[in-house]
Symmetry: C2
């Protein structure tokens, strides 16, 4: 269960921020190796203060473990033939890290891994960064894929059960709003923003968040006015808007007084719901603006339908986890990597033409091709299944600018 | 059937451009009343040249009439009780104009109008502009709504039949691509871009286009890699990217050679498909870049499933065309217009409290309130049905910055 994670204790905050600030998939800074640590250090006290105000730490681990336990319990019932099932938490910037999860799975003798992004909508900065970390690990740890078959769930923005969960969370809040103003309540879907530069590069996140919003409003039969707004901008560069706080202010100026905020791009409570939405907007800003009702829909957390949603997704992936023609697509792309023919596709599967690789090795930089072949062997020739979804991911394979090719470049 | 329209003949090009360049819903220019006409005049020859290259004019009218005829034929079969049905074309910048359509409907004694935006995804610049034009007409022509009941279809980006149509158009092109490279063909959904300023203001168009893309790829079972890109940028200001031509170039640089372009935000052929996609990209740019296959999926046009889609949408709207609680939402907003209580909601419908309006009149600018009351009478008190969808439209009602309130401001 892949996610960014959050510091459980205040003394983890610095290393957590350091991880974010030095991850070029997450954020690009000039002289990042110097500036990243400097920003992390400088921001630690203020971020610690915020975590202090929500009880001393992030509940992401607690929620993810609860979701994982409920999901596996259900999987053991509905999909006995693929069991027993066990969940592993794989965070990007805090323990338990992705590497920890892979090591633990190896030690437990896991046969089949479903690498399941807990971000419903794909962004290069979130899911993309975590999948790159998995590829990096595979590149450095030969054989890790030999004992385990790998499947991937990298995006699920239009999942109908997920839409039902959000719809139910919204209905719960609507019912708390007095009947005379209920129909005039604006549903504001609020998602973590991203730099405009990433939008312009073609990051699929804004489109995928938009599609979740449309699915949820269809599920609600368009019962109320709504809009999609963006939160949590940091730094001086332009980010995708309109921003949640500015939108609230503009609506109030136009006479609107009742709102429900919906965290549409995260599946459990975290600092951006508990502090930014609840404290900074619902409490502080609401008071300042004089709203009548400003409520926040809960994240999916342990909503029974949400457990059904993630159980279904994993079950489907376990069932369809056989290398199909889609895998060939990845191979095709690997074949064309820098114009070099590096793998061949046989009827049975994929094979590295060892001779040709040897020839290449002599011709080219040795280490580069050893690494490349190691990854290709691990990922393609053995037991790794690349899902359809991963294949289309602009960040992983398709969008040439920062796709699979980018992974290959990093690895090689 | 609402659309922007296109010049059928070269001598209509100037007035068409003039209409676009002076419409502040479509484009905002400094000193627009001077600069708009100047740009229109200056651009006329180059635009005429382009229309010359696609046969001397736009086929939008031809396609819209064909779609309307097929739709009405089908409606007369499947929805006899609401018939007979007749389509009227209502263009924004060329004849037959919106005003022409309303006049024609009045003369024909039409009882029930379904104002059907032919843009599946809502933008303030397209659907929003046309609905504003309808409101403007209603404000200037008292009684126009008295003899006709009005319903609205303002957005249908997640319509499942529409997704099936695009999926089928894509499959047709995929089948034309040699089998050995078919699975490595990138599906590039290409939509008309919009200024970043509009994105930042919260125009729902990018999200809604994204949701159509996700629906189509679900329908295709994610058979191929894909991405959403943006075309037709004009002027020096920043627009939403990545741009179609730059994306093609970047993919080719990364070794990709096979593409299908899909016009995802327009339902019939027009200058942007026939000239920009077919001539400038598929022919000229494709040759320059040395692609293997660069094909363009046809617009929905008269695809039988597309006729089913628009027939279903109209039939649903005719069936549900009764003022519901949603209408109260609009009324609520009108009531709060500048803090003035202007209408009341009764069990039977909506009533203007004449006395209070009279009082207001004495207190305030007379013309302003006469206009306001006229529109409210026409739109609310009589036979106009505002659909659920219109109600949520950020441009028409909800997004305070440029919503229904904006219409009211324009009218008053």
């Amino acid at each position: 269960m892949i996610n960014m994670g959050g510091p459980e204790k205040l003394d983890q905050v610095h290393d957590y921020l350091l991880g974010i600030m030095t991850d070029r998939d997450m954020i690009q800074l000039p002289v990042q190796s110097k500036l990243g640590p400097w920003i992390a250090k400088r921001r630690t006290p203020e971020v610690q203060k915020k975590y202090g105000e929500i009880g001393g730490g992030s509940p992401i681990l607690k929620w993810t473990n609860r979701q994982g336990e409920l999901m596996c319990k259900k999987l053991n019932e509905v999909s006995k033939e693929t069991g027993p099932h066990k969940h592993y938490v794989a965070f990007r910037y805090v323990t338990p890290f992705i590497d920890d999860a892979i090591e633990a799975m190896k030690n437990d003798g896991v046969e089949h891994v479903v690498a399941f992004s807990q971000y419903p909508q794909y962004s290069c900065a979130t899911s993309g960064s975590s999948f790159n970390a998995i590829f990096d690990y595979a590149a450095k740890n030969k054989g890790i894929a030999e004992s385990m078959k790998w499947s991937v769930i990298d995006r699920w923005s239009t999942n109908s059960l997920l839409a039902k969960v959000f719809a139910d969370r919204i209905r719960t809040e609507l019912n708390q709003i007095p009947e005379d103003v209920r129909h005039d309540t604006i549903i504001l879907f609020s998602a973590h923003s991203l730099p405009l530069k990433a939008v312009q590069r073609g990051d699929p996140y804004p489109s995928e968040v938009g599609s979740t919003v449309q699915m949820v409003m269809n599920e609600l039969n368009h019962c109320n006015p709504f809009n999609l707004v963006w939160q949590s901008k940091v730094g001086p560069l332009p980010w995708l808007g309109p921003f949640t706080d500015e939108a609230l202010e503009a609506y109030v100026k136009k006479g609107k007084k009742n709102f429900i905020l919906v965290p549409i791009a995260f599946v459990n409570e975290h600092i951006e719901t508990l502090h930014e939405l609840d404290i900074e907007y619902c409490h502080d800003l609401g008071k300042k603006l004089g709203v009548q009702n400003l409520r926040r829909a809960a994240a999916p957390n342990d909503h029974p339908l949400f457990i059904d949603a993630i159980t279904d997704l994993v079950q489907q992936r376990l069932k369809s986890a056989a290398p199909g023609f889609q895998l060939q697509l990845v191979v095709q792309q690997l074949k064309e990597f820098e114009g070099k023919q590096l793998v061949s596709v046989t009827k049975e599967g994929l094979e590295l033409p060892e001779d040709e690789v040897e020839t290449k090795k002599r011709e080219e930089d040795k280490t580069k091709y050893e690494n490349l072949c190691k990854v290709m062997k691990d990922i393609l020739d053995k037991k790794v299944v690349v899902s359809n979804r991963l294949v289309e991911s602009p960040c992983c394979v398709v969008t040439s600018q920062y796709g699979w090719t980018a992974n290959m470049e990093r690895i090689s």
